[in-house]
């Protein structure tokens, strides 16, 4: 049973660039959430997607956007990267009545 997968594992970008991170949910899950985990901090909720729509959003600027595809996979896009965007980006999937399962994360470094 495949768990949550994320790609790429690591990514290095330059300030001002744009980045796209990808997530495939656990089999049977239809809801995907994205979290940002800065060094030494707990994960912070970015947004959640269900039925291809953003259902809830945390306190992140519009530079952070996302998408969910019909197969429930999801992308997180970040425009105009800042040094402060350097973090581990976690994807979590769930379905009604189930817990959230987390992926291994994508480590983004902005230089």
């Amino acid at each position: 049973d495949a768990g949550v997968t994320q790609s790429p594992t690591h990514l290095i970008k330059t300030r001002g660039q744009q980045v796209t991170l990808r997530c495939s949910p656990k089999s049977g899950h239809d809801t995907v959430s994205w979290y940002q985990q800065a060094l030494g901090q707990g994960p912070q909720f970015i947004f959640q997607y269900y039925e291809e729509e953003e259902r809830q959003r945390g306190n992140f600027p519009d530079r952070f956007s996302g998408h969910q595809f019909p197969n429930y996979s999801s992308e997180l896009n970040v425009n105009a990267l800042l040094l402060g965007d350097s973090a581990l980006y976690l994807c979590a999937s769930t379905a009604w009545g189930d817990e959230q399962y987390f992926g291994p994360g994508t480590r983004l470094t902005v230089t």
């Binding site: 030494g40 994960p43 979590a92």
Partner: protein, 115 residues
């Protein structure tokens, strides 16, 4: 604003010692509570959760947690730790008015167990 506080950022203890990690949250309504663990190089994994009922919750790997509503606390315990318990531990809260699954995490506690 709602928040989750974990009392210790780093804990170092010897094998067989007892472990207790504190977690407090600030929210006046009904909450669901979680402890997650992140072993070195691995995914965040759910240790245990409290939704309702018995406030003493047992999880995997010998961990347990006690929900004390009057203190807004959900402390994690393990009577005797092993070297393999070295990991980062996160307390998280899900507001039950928030049925969409937005977890609020504490800053985490890094636990190091020495042989």
């Amino acid at each position: 604003a709602q928040s989750v506080s974990q009392h210790n950022h780093h804990v170092i203890l010897s094998e067989a010692a007892s472990l207790e990690l504190g977690c407090n949250y600030s929210y006046g309504g009904t909450v669901n509570l979680f402890w997650y663990v992140q072993y070195p190089g691995q995914h965040l994994q759910l240790l245990l959760k409290y939704f309702s009922g018995d406030p003493l919750v047992k999880g995997i790997k010998g961990f347990e947690a006690e929900f004390i509503k009057s203190k807004f606390s959900f402390n994690l315990r393990k009577p005797s730790v092993q070297w393999s318990d070295t990991a980062e531990y996160f307390c998280a809260v899900l507001l039950t008015t928030d049925s969409w699954g937005k977890l609020q995490f504490g800053a985490g506690t890094q636990v190091v167990v020495t042989p």
